[in-house]
């Protein structure tokens, strides 16, 4: 049987805390094999809840979760052999050394014992000796968490805000490590973050979640297409009704957000003409601005 094209798929995944608080709503994630999927959203958007559901840490209420084409609830223990994860803060035994922490996982996954030193070297913790992990800095703990996640050379790596608490240098190191794992091992990486710049430099695919709803999902190429569609000009006037009438007459498509028109005109000459027409018809224009079309603007638009 050939491996499915998509590594992780969720269908109408919905989760409530208590009876009313809907934290994840009909989320249909499609994470292609060997992709780096950036799962973006502001704090409290539902990222961690979605990841915990995918890992079986929360009991599924509604919807379906498939990993490597298999339903998670039926094959949990088998699938966990293929997944490495780091959810929220590092999860390590403070009274044990880095080696002992990794050893616990090595016993459970049955990997070669030499692998312990390999992963510790990979994250630069091979010289910590018998120092208890509780005395590590946050960055070291985070790297130990990543070493544990990588120990069994998983096909899928699920990381929730892996650069939290790291200094800029640490963030770059983690990013380079993930890129290398993706490139050399073809690992599928699902990484959540509220840091847009981080994902922009890393991901091949992006999903944007806000208030529990998946607002966008696709490859970075599709995101770039969305950026192109979003191109245009922001115009603020003192007469919304008359402005709408003029745009309609001119056949210009637009939408309004916070009393500002987003019009689908980007040619400078055409913008000048439009401004002149508005003025001639007695409409005061107090703002004209080329609409930014970087990923940050798109992100802000998506989570509005």
């Amino acid at each position: 049987m050939s491996a499915p094209e998509n590594c992780i798929v969720t269908e109408n995944l919905t989760h409530r805390f208590g009876s009313n608080e809907l934290v994840v709503q009909d989320v249909n994630l499609v994470i292609p094999r060997a992709s780096i999927y950036g799962f973006l959203g502001p704090n409290g958007a539902g990222k961690t809840t979605t990841l915990r559901l995918i890992l079986g840490l929360l009991q599924k209420q509604q919807g379906k979760i498939y990993i490597k084409g298999m339903p998670l609830h039926k094959h949990r223990t088998l699938l966990m052999r293929s997944i490495g994860n780091l959810i929220e803060s590092p999860s390590i035994y403070a009274h044990l050394s880095a080696t002992e922490n990794v050893r616990i996982q090595q016993i459970l996954f049955g990997t070669n014992r030499k692998r312990i030193q390999q992963v510790l070297q990979l994250v630069g913790l091979e010289k910590t000796g018998s120092k208890p992990a509780g005395k590590f800095s946050l960055g070291m703990k985070q790297r130990l968490g990543i070493a544990i996640a990588l120990l069994h050379s998983p096909e899928i790596l699920i990381l929730d805000e892996p650069t939290n608490g790291l200094d800029p240098n640490g963030m770059i190191e983690i990013r380079e490590l993930l890129l290398r794992l993706h490139k050399e091992n073809g690992m599928t990486i699902l990484v959540s973050s509220h840091l847009l710049a981080e994902i922009e430099k890393l991901a091949t695919h992006v999903g944007v979640i806000h208030n529990g709803i998946l607002r966008f999902q696709g490859s970075t190429t599709e995101l770039a297409d969305l950026q192109r569609h979003q191109k245009g000009t922001l115009i603020a006037t003192d007469n919304i009704t008359l402005s709408k009438q003029i745009f309609d007459e001119q056949g210009i498509s637009y939408h309004i957000a916070e009393n500002v028109f987003h019009v689908s005109v980007e040619n400078i000459q055409r913008v000048v003409e439009l401004n002149r027409t508005l003025n001639e018809r007695g409409v005061g224009v107090f703002k004209i601005e080329a609409q930014k079309h970087d990923i940050e603007t798109i992100f802000m638009e998506l989570i509005k």
């Binding site: 840490l57 223990t77 994860n85 803060s89 999860s91 403070a94 616990i104 016993i107 544990i148």
Partner: protein, 254 residues
């Protein structure tokens, strides 16, 4: 897989306070006796009477341990061992390893039993030395009376049996409640409550934490009549089963 689960759980007890508690708790009372005997130049030969000197000395040392220190030690050790995942925020790692929930539950409980076994080992070894060393020093030989192996092993087994309800209920509480004060608080209340009621209330044997004290302080014929060890086993099975169901059906696992 279960062996790997037990091995990984056992590794978690390394350098832990629970290990030290087990060592210190197990050796404390026999060491006090040893010091007392050395100070007073005594040996267990002074115990003359119906009982074998070894047996007499065994119960004398155990009585201090069994009534209060043993249940309290079990409560603390169970909380320390079981709550290691809450303390370190590691349930999410445990539950994303390729182990079944049953294997995790069983492995954790076996480690708990192993630590209790180790406690008994430390106690008995130190107890033996506390009898042997003064004899060797002051009499120049080991205690001359025969060592009552049969009675020694049976008594240890019975005491261990009285610990099982405490272990199972404390395990359930420590697994279920994140706040360790809940499990320790409930355990302490039950120990103190059963101590007060033992000897005062004819149905004290219905309290699951009363058995270590009852077997030490109660009337042996009466205890036989009420099948006290069957009560121990019954409570143990009920608490362990209930703990398992609560654990497996838990909605949030990290």
């Amino acid at each position: 897989m279960i062996l790997q689960s037990i091995k990984s759980e056992w590794l978690k007890t390394k350098h832990s306070i629970a290990t030290w508690l087990c060592l210190i708790g197990g050796t404390f009372i026999p060491l006090i006796f040893l010091i007392g005997m050395l100070k007073d130049h005594r040996t267990i030969d002074m115990y003359q009477g119906e009982l074998n000197a070894w047996t007499y000395y065994f119960f004398q040392v155990w009585q201090y341990m069994q009534v209060f220190l043993l249940p309290m030690g079990l409560i603390l050790a169970t909380s320390l061992i079981t709550q290691v995942e809450y303390r370190n925020n590691t349930w999410k790692t445990v539950h994303t390893t390729p182990q079944s929930y049953t294997a995790i539950f069983v492995a954790k409980f076996i480690v708990l039993l192993g630590m209790t076994g180790l406690f008994f080992l430390y106690f008995n070894a130190t107890w033996y030395l506390s009898a042997a060393i003064p004899s060797l020093i002051f009499a120049g030989h080991f205690p001359p009376v025969d060592f009552p192996w049969n009675q020694f092993l049976t008594s240890n087994g019975k005491i261990l049996l009285t610990c099982l309800p405490v272990l199972a209920l404390q395990f359930l509480l420590s697994l279920h409640f994140k706040n360790f004060l809940v499990s320790i608080g409930i355990g302490l209340l039950l120990v103190v409550g059963s101590l007060i009621l033992t000897g005062q209330w004819e149905y004290a044997y219905t309290i699951p934490y009363s058995y270590p004290a009852l077997t030490m302080m109660g009337d042996a014929a009466q205890l036989e009549k009420i099948h006290i060890y069957a009560w121990c086993l019954g409570y143990f099975i009920v608490f362990l089963t209930f703990g398992y169901v609560l654990y497996v059906t838990r909605k949030a696992k990290g």
